[in-house]
Symmetry: C2
Subunit: 651 residues, 2 copies
């Protein structure tokens, strides 16, 4: 198969001032997605549907290869890409984007993909639908740097988040139903229902039951051979309701579901329980999707997700409940990344979108893997990491790179004069409130003070052994002196380069310099990746290594946290990497500590485990996992134009 070539980019017609995001997004007809796929070499070789080097694009759950093999191209806004066996040499370069408080991180990312001499694929997270209708709006980028169709990107898209919601909540229903049935049935009745006799009176175990039998050390394959004691151990999960960490999820900003009591119907016989809903992207299943490396790996991770403990203190898993296979079936299409495009026709893989506070907040490993194969040895893959060096980068390196085996050659940190002024001591910036004058006129003192924060991001990121390029997103109110100060301080701090970017206002042209800087940084890359901690040390040692990385002097564990660390260590999960659930507004646990906080004590309130996804997550302070709606949510402006069918008011 010939190496792929990038399609000639679309020339944008730039308007000034920049129109509303949705107006720009709708002003362009997307290119046929199959032509983008074809240019990427992502379609089957004609006439060889079974050839092992083929690339498969899927839509609607079926192979696209058949059509593609006949060279047909149709008009589509998305396609799914899936792993195929391939003999093609992989691209040797992966990149991470580490945003410094900038909501334009996504925007920027898309422009980097416009390097025109090589094949570039951007890997982005799929945004939650909750904020789209709440305060924040969508996440397709902004101005002349967007993923299109932005309506699809911001709404259901291919339904992956809906699949996660369905799977997560099937497991929730299974937990409460199982406790109910265990509470109302004898051991024998339970066992007889779990392993019913068929027409010939023969009993058998379902395939999924063997993982529980194995865990219990029972090697029998005939249910009739189990002793009474084994029958009881097998049939009774004996879940301790107080230990259940698995919550229901919904992809809606519904604050009244944060804490609820379930089971108040008369049929549930008084078995009420306090629990709550998280937003869907906070589901462990989302974290699994983002960290999985294959279908077999996903099946295994989903089955071993721990929902709580038995009264004896043993972990209870999805496979113990018999539902790991069904969860995999619900997720079978979601494992395939979705191929979309920027306004200029650059390929973008959209896949997974784990919550960046309580989960690892990075785009998916599967998308990176496929993209790396597709771009070929000279190509570039740009992948997104949510939040700064403390959260996005640390989790990218110590969690995602550990599971993927992939190594970045360059990290991009996005900075804005506005954010740096805030870190330098500028007044608080509140969404929906007018911006303070300090952010609209030159204030070199604030900028320079705030650069201490940028310097710490650069230093921390470089400590992993990667080159750092700083992308400075230029705003109309920034002055030349302010921008020059940021650039000079970044270079002094050891950044490989620091480049001004204007892609929001001017499209791909505005990020070409950044692209070249990244290309050079990758070419000069040589150091191996240095993890922050080895996996073998204790949970506390790992937490303390990360706390030091943040700048903390000490770590303080509340009693809940102490108990959980003891529990997870006893249950055998201490070898997992650590995923800090921490605010993104400060290197510390306190969002109000700007700049470079020092000498603080990091409080660990509680510790949870996402065993299926593969990490332990300490809660550093309070993290909301279900946003709320303001008095006037975004949805007031959203409607459909009945004549044209166009979406109005999405931002």
């Amino acid at each position: 198969m010939a190496p792929p070539t990038s399609s000639s980019p679309r020339k944008l017609e730039i308007v000034n001032p920049v129109p509303a995001d949705i107006d720009i997004a709708q002003s362009v007809d997307p290119l046929p997605i199959a032509s983008i796929a074809q240019d990427l070499g992502a379609l089957a070789r004609p006439g060889s549907p079974q050839e092992p080097s083929r690339w498969i694009l899927r839509r609607g759950g079926r192979d696209y290869a058949d059509a593609a093999g006949r060279g047909q191209i149709d008009h589509h806004c998305w396609a799914r890409a899936s792993h195929g066996g391939s003999s093609r040499k992989e691209g040797s370069l992966a990149r991470t984007d580490i945003s410094s408080r900038s909501s334009l991180a996504r925007t920027w990312l898309l422009k980097l993909a416009k390097l025109q001499s090589v094949v570039v694929v951007a890997c982005l997270r799929q945004p939650s639908q909750g904020p789209t209708f709440g305060i924040k709006g969508g996440a397709a980028g902004g101005g002349y740097s967007q993923v299109i169709p932005m309506e699809e990107f911001n709404l259901h898209l291919t339904g992956d988040i809906h699949a996660i919601t369905a799977a997560n909540n099937l497991l929730s229903a299974a937990i409460d139903a199982r406790m109910f049935h265990e509470n109302t049935q004898s051991d024998k009745a339970l066992f007889n229902r779990l392993c019913p006799a068929d027409k010939e009176g023969k009993r058998s175990f379902a395939k999924v039951m063997y993982s529980r039998l194995k865990k219990l050390g029972i090697e029998k394959t005939d249910p009739n051979q189990l002793t009474a004691e084994e029958t009881k151990k097998f049939a009774r999960l004996d879940i301790d309701p107080a230990t259940i960490t698995w919550k229901r999820v919904m992809d809606v900003n519904d604050r009244f579901l944060r804490k609820i009591t379930v089971g108040q119907g008369p049929e549930e016989k008084g078995m009420t329980r306090e629990t709550g809903f998280d937003i869907s992207v906070a589901s462990e299943i989302m974290a699994v999707l983002a960290l999985t490396t294959s279908l077999a790996d996903m099946r295994s991770r989903l089955g071993k997700m721990v929902i709580g403990s038995s009264k004896a203190g043993d972990p209870v898993t999805a496979d113990d409940l018999g539902v790991g296979g069904a969860l995999t079936v619900l997720m079978k299409d979601a494992i395939h990344p979705t191929l979309m495009q920027t306004l200029e026709g650059t390929p973008v893989f959209v896949h997974a979108g784990p919550f960046a506070n309580i989960a690892h907040g990075n785009s998916s490993i599967v998308a990176d893997q496929i993209a790396l194969k597709l771009v070929g040895p000279e190509g570039f893959v740009i992948t997104e990491a949510g939040f700064g060096a403390d959260i996005g980068c640390e989790k990218f390196m110590d969690i995602k790179c550990r599971y993927s085996g992939l190594r970045p050659q360059c990290a991009v940190i996005v900075a804005t004069v506005r954010a740096l002024k805030m870190h330098g001591g500028g007044p608080a910036v509140v969404a929906g409130k007018p911006l303070d004058a300090a952010y609209k006129s030159e204030n070199l003192e604030l900028v320079r003070a705030g650069c201490s924060n940028l310097v710490k991001h650069i230093e921390n990121t470089r400590s992993y052994g990667v080159n750092v390029v700083v992308g400075i997103n230029v705003f109309a109110t920034d002055t030349e002196a302010e921008l020059a100060a940021v650039k000079s301080i970044a270079l002094d701090a050891g950044a490989f380069d620091a480049v001004l970017c204007t892609h929001y206002a001017s499209g791909g042209e505005g990020a070409v310099e950044l692209g070249y800087a990244v290309q050079r940084a990758c070419e000069r890359h040589s150091a191996p990746l240095k993890f922050l901690y080895p996996l073998e040390v204790s949970i506390k040692e790992k937490i303390e290594a990360i706390a030091k990385f943040y700048g903390a002097d000490n770590v303080e564990y509340e009693s809940e946290a102490e108990a959980k660390i003891e529990l997870y260590t006893r249950q055998g999960f201490s070898q997992l990497p650590i995923c800090m659930a921490k605010t993104q507004y400060s290197f510390s646990h306190d969002p109000s500590l700007k700049g470079v906080p020092k000498g603080f004590t990091l409080p660990i309130r509680d510790v949870r485990a996402s065993v299926g996804a593969g990490f332990i997550y300490p809660l550093v302070g309070a993290m909301s996992t279900m946003p709320g709606l303001p008095t006037r949510p975004c949805f007031y402006d959203i409607d459909l134009d009945i004549e044209s069918g166009k979406v109005l008011g999405l931002s």
Copy 2:
């Protein structure tokens, strides 16, 4: 455009005994869906994408017309069909299927579509994912009469039910958040947040706010011109929490969500509220989707859905909450039916799936409309109505036909010897328990006694002025004498014809006779449709007309019901048709009353209104709107084969 021709049907390789549904479903490669669409004339005319007579098939939210116009066909399992302007003459025949307790109704339906000399389209409901993982399993048909790919059909499919869940729950979140904000803010603060000043200090109303202003009789367009009194009326919905009928939904069998308390988090300041979840297919938005006739109609229905009353007793709508437009945006793709196929390649539209107990349980009007256009004047459309003459037929005629303006020329009632024996006094049939011997050997007495039930279904259906064909689904244990008895009694009762069907075991061949009988019944059809009641009479008069149709002597209203009838009449909703929420197991309210119950009093426990969908629904006894999971749900058997990617264990 030339009239469409049906593609040559696929020849099935029949195996005996009949293998598992999923094995049959996976034994056949689906035909390229575009070739089915092309044969139906459902693709654009080459080179004329803007021609008003084009038919549009959509996938992934984009027009398929472009590709289709170039005559390209690819390999796909589904496509979306949407209304296009068309000059083609419509098919003049619509049909309804009215099942008599038979779970094979869907199966049968698919085979009728195999009449080979004319174009036939079947319109089916999309099944809920809840039962797929619970007790019942999927609903793609069975044996050699199935919709394929059955995995897609039974799982997320095109995500329409997920879209309904998302829209339903966005409205729920909006209700609780609005009450919260009204409870914590002054009139002025509320108003200022709802109509914030822009950078120039100018305030304006969002478009959706004009429906509320109109309702309040305020004709001003400048927010600054509202009086203090008007400001308060506009900004304060003043919802009475006790009147809220809008519940959250989830497409999972989760019994512990039937009754819950929300708002128990500390940030919700003690504003707890008792509420509950229904299964998603019970959402009013599902009923809207099934009864809507166009995008504009759907926008209007979604906006006028009533969620409860203000403390002053006025109805509060989705548009009052500002969310009607956003709901429409979430549903914009779901309005397009999904084109699938039977095992033999017959086109099937899958669309909507309203709960047949509390909603009207019929397949969608939009699918019927599109199908009728596509089959042309000589063609046939078979559309599904959930449950028997008391529920499926009555709601089809008095609700769906009223909104669609379409008129059926024939109704098919599906009967089985087994179900009739049960109505004749046979022992109870319980899912998962072995079948009593009475159902496995000849018992003419039971069959003849049970036929009283079939006769009542025939008589009730004929009272609407349509010809009735009885399809008798043959089971291996039925004897010739039993089948002959059913046939003879049906004909004596006035059925146009009664035909034995063996499509489960033998595919399309097994339903050809039934197809011809339906064709003849339609040709002989002449009577106009006679509704059971006029819309203008009172709610009670309508309820009583339906009760009489069931065979009741009297209707008894509990006090809740009386109060609601009074409320809805005062609110101006008494002109809506009635949608009885009643068991499907008996003509009466009591599932144990088999055969033809007489002289009973129909109890009306409560009355609700689905104003957006367009009906009032009296609750006849207790109706569960959220199923539960058994001790060993179907999900124990469901898994993915990692090597082949095939779904295992779906039934």
